[in-house]
Symmetry: C2
Subunit: 391 residues, 2 copies
């Protein structure tokens, strides 16, 4: 019996991408409703030819048409869309360079009938990357009631039950490498605009980058945090301290009393000091993903490991699934939204995960050492008390 | 590197159980706080000697001491505790008989500092059962605010923020067999008492049994539903029809538009026609687990299968995890309760699960045939329109 699937289109695209990559920079498949349309490469080429904005490196054509992006090039909506497209492309290309066997990302360009769409890039079952997803979405419409309630609960000054037009653009990514000595990374940077009256629009940025190792490597954790700190310090010396603690508090598997990983930075509702300055900060954070993470992949992708390390990695991936499905605000919110593209939301889940009853490593083992750090977040860069969250 | 864990105590108990099973009917480990105490077998023997109630077959001594159970033998709390203890023992023993290699359940008897406790029986990595959990719990205390809110939302006439003493006793089980031709079963039967004023107590029963096959076998599904229908029909001819639809509606992976499996029965807040009659009905349902399921294990545990069938089983187990962590009321409620024994709650998760991006089987395949039934629940016993839930 042979399993077949709508991956067929995608697999064909992937083979095509492998052989044609030099001639054609991307292959896209747009999902509209339940039908799958292979996105026409000719349109991308035509767009490229006439564009003043350079989109030649992008994984697919932007969601907003080039003419509109050109016309509104100083509008934050356009700036954010182009920034996340570039981050997606740079990260995908850097990861592909780590793949010894030449595996490439499969690109799905999809549209949303309520407005906007996204580009989901997935590399599955590579030699280095077991499952890697890098997604951008640029969507607009009227905010669902559940979203308004969630934003109000977070302190947004919106009237209950109000119909508000919104725009959201973001990039999000989760990389699950095959080798247990290479950590998993997650990042997400997003921009929101909500029109809360005829004349006023509220805007804010949110995001973060965090690392989930399977074995603790203190130098790796320090390197990772140092790169994030550098990105923060360029903009506000208080950011790293605040956003490092916020990250430890957010990525908390409450029922286990463990963090998901060794942290990073996390923030939401950032609307100061100005729209442009906040954008510059978010851009710096997104640009810090490569230097914070790629060296760790490079350094550890050929490390030796055995059956026990693989089993431990799978157990930790089970914990990752627990966090994402039980606590993560974005995942829950996404899945409860009617018509959400759940495949893009759930691309964050690992290819394989494992749950053993009552598995607790002995404290003196390598596995126990990791759990100790997950229970008691560390101040990696020696910035003092405020860096460690209350357990 | 060798992974060690607090399973050490348990593994030792398990070996002991294997060799001593004929002399001693159980081995228990009580978890109090973070310390693990091996429950003394001598107490169980002593309890057995003086007991008029026969507990010799139970997996461990009941949570409530025998003298109290004897004294209050007509109280529903005692009757329910003894019923679920017997169901747990019968099901564990029947499953152990299916294990060709002689694998036995590990028994954890745990206590809860707020009142009561439970007995968690787990068989992991057997030849026939990949992961099997059969749990009973008998707990009392003051209802947490979140529980009151959830019950109010469901229609219970409780005042908000009221401090109410409660008692709850239930049995719950999930069996994940190794062979993809053997379905997964889940069942849960529970009794609640809430004292909502100085003089009044509300009580109700809830529960259900449902089947999750990896490959559709129509005869198996019919057999399973027929046994449940028989149990229902003894008490009320309208029950099967109503509770079959409730089951299809409840076990719904909303974001995928799929049911978790081929259904069964599900009900909650049952407080009629009388306490005794409702108890008799719930007892019949719990007793129907064995004849509905064990023949399916017996019949298919040696069926042939290959790599593709195993991969499909793992993908479907990923969907099982999605339902349990995102939608299941019991799991969510349990995990959000401070001090909950999360290992007993999460024993329902499979040993291994898998997530592939955009996996959809072709409709004409065996896998596609299953998905079709998950999207459009069937009226297995030909009882007419009302049996199928709206998609």
């Amino acid at each position: 019996m042979v399993l077949q699937s709508c991956m067929k289109t995608v697999k064909a695209s992937w083979l095509f991408a492998l052989t044609q990559r030099k001639k054609l920079r991307y292959v896209g498949a747009a999902l509209i409703g339940t039908g799958v349309l292979v996105y026409e490469s000719s349109r991308h080429k035509a767009e490229m030819a006439k564009a003043k904005i350079d989109i030649s490196d992008f994984m697919a054509a932007p969601i907003t048409d080039i003419a509109t992006l050109e016309k509104n090039k100083n509008d934050m909506k356009s700036k954010m869309e182009l920034m996340i497209m570039k981050i997606q492309a740079d990260f995908c290309h850097a990861l592909e360079q780590q793949e010894v066997g030449g595996a490439k990302f499969v690109v799905d360009r999809w549209e949303r009938k309520e407005g906007g769409g996204g580009i989901t890039c997935v590399l599955q079952d590579g030699e280095v990357l077991e499952k890697a997803g890098v997604n951008i979405s640029v969507v607009s419409g009227v905010l669902p009631a559940a979203a308004v309630a969630q934003m109000r609960a977070r302190g947004k000054n919106f009237k209950e039950g109000q119909m508000m037009p919104f725009f959201a653009a973001g990039v999000s990514s989760v990389i699950h490498p095959r080798n247990p000595m290479v950590p998993t990374i997650h990042f997400n940077y997003r921009y929101f605009e909500v029109q809360d009256s005829e004349t006023t629009t509220q805007w804010w940025f949110g995001g973060g980058t965090d690392l989930t190792p399977y074995y603790l490597n203190v130098e790796d954790a320090k390197h990772f945090h140092r790169e994030l700190q550098k990105a923060c310090d360029k903009h506000d010396k208080s950011y790293y301290r605040r956003f490092k603690k916020w990250c430890d508090d957010y990525f908390h598997i409450t029922h286990r009393g463990e963090r998901r990983g060794v942290g990073g930075i996390f923030f939401d509702d950032l609307d100061s000091p100005s729209q442009e300055k906040a954008f510059q900060f978010v851009t710096s954070c997104a640009q810090a993903v490569l230097p914070s993470y790629i060296p760790l992949v490079q350094q550890h992708k050929n490390d030796g490991y055995g059956y026990a390390e693989r089993q431990w990695q799978l157990l930790r991936r089970g914990r990752y699934v627990e966090f994402n499905l039980i606590y993560d605000r974005g995942t829950k919110f996404g899945l409860y939204t009617p018509g959400a593209r759940y495949e893009s939301i759930l691309m964050s889940l690992p290819l394989t995960a494992r749950w053993e009853y009552m598995h607790v490593p002995v404290p003196s083992s390598k596995e126990g050492e990791l759990v100790e750090v997950l229970k008691n977040p560390r101040d990696w860069l020696g910035i003092g008390e405020a860096a460690t969250a209350a357990a």
